[in-house]
Amino acid sequence: MLTAPKLDYALLAPILIILGAALLGVLVEAFVKQSLRARLQLAIALTGIIIAFEQLYRIRNQGTSIAAVTSVSIDGAGIFMQGAILIFAFLGILIIADHDHFAPQASALPGSAEEVSALESGKQQTEVFPLTLFAVSGMMLFPIATDFITLFVALEVLSLPLYLMAGLSRRRRLLSQEAALKYFLLGAYSSAFFLFGAALLYGYSGSLSLNGLTDAIHGSGGNDVFLLLGIVFLSVGLLFKVGAVPFHNWTPDVYQGAPTPITGFMAAATKAAAFGATLRIFYVGLDAAQISWKPAIAAVAVITMLVGAIAAISQRDVKRMLAYSSIAHAGFLLTAVVSLNKSALGATLFYLVAYGLATIGAFGIVTLVRDSAGEVTDINRWVGLGKKSPLVASVFSLFLLSFAGIPLTSGFVGKFAIFSAAYESGNIYLVVAGVLSSAIAVFFYLRLILMLFFADATNDSVSVVIPSILTRIAISITAIATIILGVAPSLLFNVAQNFAYFLR
């Protein structure tokens, strides 16, 4: 006889609320008339996120490793990540709500009569809201999942909506659809790697849970070919999601092709979710086998930092440049995986929030710079933007300075915390590599600021549109947070430190 597993609904409630809101969104798509959908969807999405966040706040001090049998573990780091993802989702949706970025009917072929009629009828894209919420639910599950099946399910739940959303761009639709297809194919490929790794680890340990894996490693000494192969394949899947070199090739294409609000949301939230899961797998499941994976992950971290920073220099497209910058940041965050100590975990939590907020803000600004054909992402056409719109250029520069890790911005504190954790763990070479790649990265951030402010505009077709009130709110919040977290980082840092623990 099968007994129903015991689920701790209160602890799982934040995810369930988001899923519920997403399903409600699907029903709205089916039953509510076109003209009302956009507002209703937005309200449902934002309300769902707020309620989920409130529930998350209520359970903030509870922790258990058996929230859903052995599949889900609610603990400090998990709750913090979920909170961060909800905040990213909230801000992301504020920008996504500007429907001007999305194709009215995603299924219409680019250039077809169907598309033209969809455009003419003034349809708005509203499916994107439930899709975002589905992705968010997956992202929230990913960092708290503790067995490989749940991890895989979460990975797919977060990825599939993103594949779709990447193809929704209103303009340059072929580029967008190419990005979606690329993302989907490579993503499916990497999921297969992840699953293969999970299978090998199951074969090795006889258990699907991370704890079972740890026990098995302790039992056997951790030098088994299945274990090592399993780690390799599993890592490939994870490193793909975080966008680490050499599994980073999708990043610039997808970042460039996807509608910009999606790119911002994806860059911030996916990174948080993927690093949340990566940290848990390596800290909880593979801690005992660290001697076998540390050198490899450290090498990946170094290469990722350097390649991200160097490749960004030659980019001529703002979104691609930000994509390579996100790759470099993934490298910094990977050093925290290698550091394997509590300070590194706290530092990562802080860094993910700081980076995520700045990223959403930066892509939010990219959505504002347009000409008659839509967004302008060619760097050369951003020249002299400081003259046309000093405020927008200044705020964008603030985000760039934060990415570059200049003091008094949140990025600096995050970088400092990550480097000192790496130093503390004895991996001084990672600090040196980090410092070098920061020095390289500074160049392209500053060059962009230089172009914004110190050069005269060459053409006048580019303009900064007046942002909608929602976009304005999102960008303001991210900008203020970037300064506050840089000047008074204790506000968040102490919280991150308190939440920096995993339950086994």
Partner: protein, 501 residues
């Protein structure tokens, strides 16, 4: 609240006040900026009178927790060296405002932005010398680059954007190396019981010599870029050429001093063993800088580049004095830092006026200014004399002390350095001769002499150069306790003459 905090807040408040003033009223903005900077000067002078030269401990200290997770504090406090440099800063800022009354008007942005940037810069310049927490120092050290970046790029001349970029990249690169070293120090202090960024506590750490060497290099390269030492100097001439006279004055006069200040405050106190290890190499670099800067200065055709190269030569002297590791050398070096600030200010400001009047910065375009604009010419002449360390002017005292102090330990370096003085006479006198004497070209004939505002601006600078030249005691009294503390800490003592009786 310590008076140091007040001193830092005042310019910041000024910047905020200016931010709400109407953009159009340039005159009001300038007057407000000048008013606040004078207020800062007055407060700093009041502070100087409250400073006790008999005490070697830090004074006017204040500590507040900033980032508790890393035990990072807002901690300020000054000793004699910091006091001298802060006074130099607070005196130079209103002079720069007054001297460059109109230099904000041809910029990319409004007059308002110019003064906001300058006042923020003043806050940071005071803060960087007052900080007694390494993290706080680092944050200001890096953050103060940005106002300068925008000042050069937004209000400079010629290839200003490229110059600003070059300046920032060099400095940030050095800063990042220093960041790695700062983190290293923090972790070492954590391992030795309680992580801290407090300068006093950090200088008591026991660090093995290999680690010391690496950390020393992290700090030293950052400072050698800042106070440009050959071969890290290439950003300076381009920056000086493009920046306005006022920005150049603050950049070379104050900001670059953070480099030499840091060598004394951090390199020597944290890493005494590494200091001794690297001394021969650094002395060599210093001597190369003296001679290289001087030789290149002779060949310069642009007057601002000339001043920049003389500064490279002078920073060589300061570094030589610091790493001679004798009390005379060190005192001389610290005094030189102050004198160089005023001397460079005199040079840049008078040169700036000449360039503005003539519309060219090429030395060859001047000539015979002595007859047309006697007061401007005399001011430039005196500034030049100060640059070549004429006896009777303050730079002579410091240069003499540096050479005296270094001769005791490194006679060859001192002798080579002395040839730098001869070369200095050459580059200064050549420039003076070409620009002030000889035929007056027709283009220069009608140009006006200094007006009252400019006279008021240059007078205090020249007064300081002359007064400290004849009576350097007050400043030396303030500096001496610092010298003694640093010497004790670095574990070095003055060489005793071998032939006793």
């Amino acid at each position: 609240m310590s008076i140091l905090t007040t001193l830092q807040l005042l310019p910041l408040i000024g910047a905020i006040v200016i931010a709400v003033l109407p953009v159009g009223n340039a005159k009001l903005i300038k007057q407000t900026a000048l008013g606040f900077s004078l207020l800062v000067t007055i407060v700093s002078i009041v502070m100087a009178f409250g400073f006790k030269t008999s005490e070697s401990a830090l004074q006017f200290t204040e500590t507040r927790s900033w980032i508790s997770a890393f035990n990072i504090n807002y901690a300020v406090g000054i000793d004699g060296m910091a006091l001298a440099l802060i006074l130099m800063t607070t005196i130079l800022v209103p002079i720069v405002f007054l001297a460059g009354w109109n230099e904000s008007e041809n910029g990319r942005w409004s007059v308002k932005v110019f003064y906001i940037l300058l006042l923020i810069l003043e806050t940071m310049m005071i803060g960087v010398f007052a900080a007694t927490d390494v993290f706080l120092f680092y944050v200001i050290f890096e953050a103060m680059l940005l106002p300068v970046y925008f000042l050069i790029g937004g209000y400079g001349v010629g290839e200003r954007a490229a110059a600003a970029m070059k300046f920032l990249l060099y400095s940030l690169f050095g800063g990042l190396l220093m960041l790695a070293a700062v983190i290293g120090l923090y972790i070492i202090s954590t391992n030795q019981g309680g992580g801290t960024f407090d300068i006093a506590k950090l200088s008591e750490l026991r660090i093995d010599s290999a680690t010391q060497n690496w950390l020393f290099l992290g700090f030293f390269i950052a400072f050698a870029i800042k106070a440009p030492l050959w071969p890290f100097h290439t950003w300076l001439p381009t920056a000086a050429k493009s920046a306005t006279a006022g920005t150049s004055t603050l950049l070379l006069g104050v900001l670059d001093k953070v480099g030499t200040y840091g060598m004394i405050r951090f390199c020597m106190s944290f890493f005494p063993d590494a200091t001794k290890t690297f001394t021969p190499a650094i002395i060599t670099l210093a001597v190369i800088s003296i001679l290289y800067g001087a030789f290149l200065a002779i060949g310069q055709k642009d007057i601002n580049s000339l001043i920049a190269f003389t500064s490279i030569s002078h920073f060589g002297f300061i570094t030589l004095g610091i790493f001679a590791l004798t009390s005379q050398g060190l005192t001389g070096a610290i005094f030189y830092m102050v004198n160089h600030g005023f001397s460079t200010a005199a040079l840049f400001l008078t040169a700036g006026w000449m360039i503005k009047r003539r519309g060219s910065s090429q030395i060859a375009d001047f000539g015979g200014l002595q007859r047309v604009t006697p007061i401007l010419a005399w001011s430039f002449f005196l500034a030049g004399m100060s640059a070549l360390a004429l006896p009777g002017l303050s730079s002579f005292v410091s240069e003499f002390l540096v050479l005296l102090g270094s001769f005791a330990k490194y006679p060859v370096a001192a002798i080579l350095g002395t040839t730098g003085i001869i070369l200095a006479a050459l580059y200064v006198l050549l420039a003076v001769q070409r620009s002030l004497h000889g035929e007056t070209p027709a283009t220069s004939s009608g140009i006006p002499d200094l007006n009252l505002r400019e006279k008021i601006a240059i007078a205090p600078v020249i007064a300081v150069l002359v007064v400290l030249g004849f009576y350097p005691k007050p400043v030396l009294n303030v500096i001496n306790p610092t010298t003694q503390t640093v010497m004790t800490h670095a574990g070095v003592s003055d060489p005793v003459a071998k032939v006793a009786k």
